[in-house]
């Protein structure tokens, strides 16, 4: 196992390459989820028949 992590002395290079790739892919997926949620909320706010009283509870700023 430690030999696997060492990568024959190239561990720093191999794991920096693989680790940062995994990180940026994870960040893209999380940003995509957040964007979908935000767009659904904004679409909900844009609905014409929506009663004005519920708008405050749907303010994107009040949701995390």
């Amino acid at each position: 196992m430690s030999a696997f992590i060492a990568m024959g002395g190239y561990g720093w290079y191999v794991w920096m390459a693989y680790g940062v790739t995994a990180l940026v892919v994870a960040v893209e997926i999380l940003m995509l989820r957040a964007r979908r949620r935000r767009m659904l909320i904004e679409a909900r706010l844009a609905e014409p028949e929506m009663p004005i009283t519920t708008r405050a509870t749907l303010d994107p700023g009040s949701l995390s």
Binding site: V14, R35, M39
Partner: protein, 250 residues
């Protein structure tokens, strides 16, 4: 046939297709990546010349291919958007730009960490690397231009023009290793010659490339669905979507 195709050119018709297909491509990407990582990091033997540093190839090469290919697909959708004034093709181009930038960043980053142990430097201003860096700036420029224009239809046109002008960079990246004397090596894999690498390494590279394809498709479909909701909001079909009702109790 043509009528079927054009029916899905309407954002309202394409939205459920994108939502349904995205998880399947995502699952395919995960399975292919696990198999590719197993082959690339465990099964494939240590390289005689480069030691284990060569294992970076399994992400570097697929990411570099995707960075250029996504740009070409974006240019294709941009040309359609300009020529036929279709909204969905512009949305597809918009959805691809962040993933193209991501792939370009991964190609540059993994290249730096491969270059250091093999060439002795993280970075050099060589033709291949510099043109790939310009590709990253092109992606950033297209995203920034989109965000700078409030009217989405005007943004579509401006981004399509910039994308098509920037497409000149893709053949420059691709042929840079032939046109100039670069630090970066020529292509290892060619359609016309026998591969210059062991078949197990080739298998790992193929699996990771397919994973990158499936990932890019999944992410682009998921993002275009969000873009459709953003740009079609207020439309009746959007308010009838079950996910709008599920969002929170009304």
């Amino acid at each position: 046939m043509a009528s079927t195709f054009f029916r899905y050119a309407a954002p309202a018709a394409f939205y459920p297709v994108a939502r349904r297909l995205a998880p399947w491509f995502g699952a395919a990407a995960a399975v292919l990546a696990i198999a590719g990582l197993a082959v690339g990091l465990v099964v494939a033997p240590t390289d005689a010349q480069q030691g284990d540093a060569y294992r970076i190839i399994f992400i570097h090469v697929p990411a570099a291919w995707m960075s250029m290919f996504i740009y070409l697909v974006m240019a294709f959708w941009s040309a359609l958007a300009l020529g036929y004034n279709t909204r969905l093709s512009a949305m597809m181009a918009q959805a691809l730009a962040p993933t193209g930038a991501l792939m370009t960043f991964i190609a540059l980053w993994t290249g730096a960490f491969w270059g250091r142990p093999t060439w002795g430097t993280y970075w050099a201003w060589d033709a291949r690397m510099t043109s790939e860096l310009i590709l990253l700036f092109l992606y950033f420029g297209i995203i920034a231009l989109r965000n700078a224009i409030d009217d989405p239809r005007r943004g579509d046109k401006a981004c399509a023009v910039l994308t098509l002008v920037g497409a000149v960079n893709v053949p420059i990246i691709y042929f840079s290793v032939q046109w100039w004397n670069t630090l970066h090596q020529g292509s290892t894999i060619s359609m016309t010659a026998a591969p210059k690498m062991a078949s197990i390494m080739l298998t790992g590279l193929l699996l990771m490339s397919l994973a990158a394809w499936a990932y890019a498709i999944a992410v682009a479909l998921a993002r275009v669905a969000s873009i459709i909701i953003e740009r079609e909001r207020g439309a009746v079909w959007i308010s009838h979507l079950p996910e709008m009702r599920r969002l929170m109790p009304s």
